[in-house]
Symmetry: C2
Subunit: 289 residues, 2 copies
């Protein structure tokens, strides 16, 4: 495995591999790798001849009051994990080379970027899209892998790739959860024991919503919202940022639930902000009736 820090060297490594007919599989990350990332890497290992993992804590996606400076970083451990997974290249560019003086070009997926996570974190998705586009330009992969844990991000990146005709296939991979149901996140390390217990309510609340829609045939968005919020509200240490039932493409709130929807939520538990989501699809009406 090779660690590459300079953009032109990454570009050159991929150019050589492509000239040999190799398929490039790319997993963009902010490091602090956990089993969720490794699931992406394993899928990349299946689909690609060359696996590139980028480790870049992207300053452009952090707000001024957010945790850019304290975001967990551990390149030595990340490197060990990538070696175990037979990654070919870690690409860890310097923020100063990614965003040199005078940098001023941004990509925005309008509408989708200003709701939900985007409403709580202005500029977040503009930063994500700009960095992802830059990384795709440098790594020039055949496939790029994103986790469903960050579902709104995945929808937005897919929209960007479609709209800008980027020549890459986006592969989404299921959320990986710990045994207690908590979705893996690099920020979970910040939860103390009682906060960790509270975090278990997220999956439980989403699962409640899924059961309402899939097993009990509830088509009222309001009813699902109320009952899911009730599950979360039962724990006083959980502060709901948002919970929403949305269309999986437009991310708009449907009038009623008549097809697949996403249930998306963000909460604060103490000083830690967590997000999670689940998809739900009502039984289609029995055509024989």
């Amino acid at each position: 495995m090779e660690l590459i820090r300079r953009l032109h060297l990454m570009r050159e490594a991929v150019r050589k591999a492509r000239a040999e007919g190799k398929k490039i599989a790319f997993v963009p990350t902010m490091g602090a790798l956990h089993d969720g990332h490794l699931a992406l890497v394993r899928r990349a290992r299946e689909l690609g001849d060359i696996v590139v993992v980028s480790i870049f804590v992207n300053p452009e996606q952090f707000g001024p009051d957010e945790d850019y400076d304290t975001y967990p970083r551990d390149l030595a451990r990340d490197t060990d994990l990538c070696v175990e997974e037979h990654v070919d290249f870690i690409f860890a560019p310097d923020p100063k080379e990614m965003y040199p003086d005078g940098f001023r070009t941004y990509v925005e997926v309008e509408g989708l970027s200003s709701i939900l996570e985007g409403a709580s974190r202005p500029g977040f998705f503009r930063g994500v899209c700009t960095a992802v586009l830059k990384l795709l330009s440098v790594v020039n992969p055949h496939f790029a892998f994103f986790g469903q844990k960050d579902m709104q991000q995945a929808v937005i990146v897919q929209t960007m790739v479609r709209d800008l005709n980027l020549n890459v296939e986006i592969v989404l991979c299921p959320t990986v959860r710990d045994d207690d149901g908590v979705a893996l996140s690099s920020r979970n390390v910040r939860l103390n024991v009682s906060e960790r217990v509270s975090a278990m309510a997220l999956r439980r609340a989403l699962e409640r919503g899924r059961v309402l829609i899939e097993d009990q045939g509830v088509s009222s968005v309001e009813e699902v919202e109320t009952k899911v919020r009730d599950v979360l509200g039962a724990d006083e240490s959980i502060k709901i940022d948002y919970f929403a039932v949305v269309d999986p493409v437009s991310l708009e709130r449907p009038e009623t639930i008549g097809g697949e929807v996403l249930l998306l939520l963000a909460v604060w538990i103490g000083q830690t902000r967590l997000i999670d989501n689940i998809s739900a699809c009502p039984e289609p009406p029995d055509e024989a009736e």
Copy 2:
């Protein structure tokens, strides 16, 4: 020569050519080709093995009150000219395939896009950058050619390519002028005889500015602005939109003229809006003194 209208066919043609080791040279245009465009095509023919000319009147770069519907279009004539210049592919995509329902992703070069042309034409450069990025994604060229006639556009595209790490070399080509000094433009066909005479003042005014800076050592931006505006003001049928002396990279107005500057102007003559520019560089101070 082959005319391609579908994005996936253009992508496939380039993929094949690249697999054979061919260099792709790309000239993006809005059609209504004139000798200015053909100068770009000839430069492309020199640098590339395969020359692709796109003909796409980009709706996203026209304001609601602008001339999208009446912009000159003549694909038959454009095709003849491209055949004469040994172009390999004309790429003329359908606006509905370029901007399908739900399209919502835009690229913006901040700052540079909101001044000068951008101040007079809000959204213009956002539309230009978005279309250019899409065309570059589909055509995937080694070289792309832009005219200095649209100097602010050229600076903005170069900034976008640098900031987003796009893997293409931008080649700028000098403005082509008619014998009377008028810069070639697809919109010149709209000038009547007396308006055409007025249009000759643009080059004359810019040339006056260049002489002031280069031959007479004028370093005062105000003095250059006043004297160039006087040349234009002498013709009552010319309405100045803007005239500016700016730094060639930042497009900001310098305090004084101490190095290369661009002189940029836009005017209305009757119902036609024309732009032109020139660069000027004062003699460096004699180092022997």
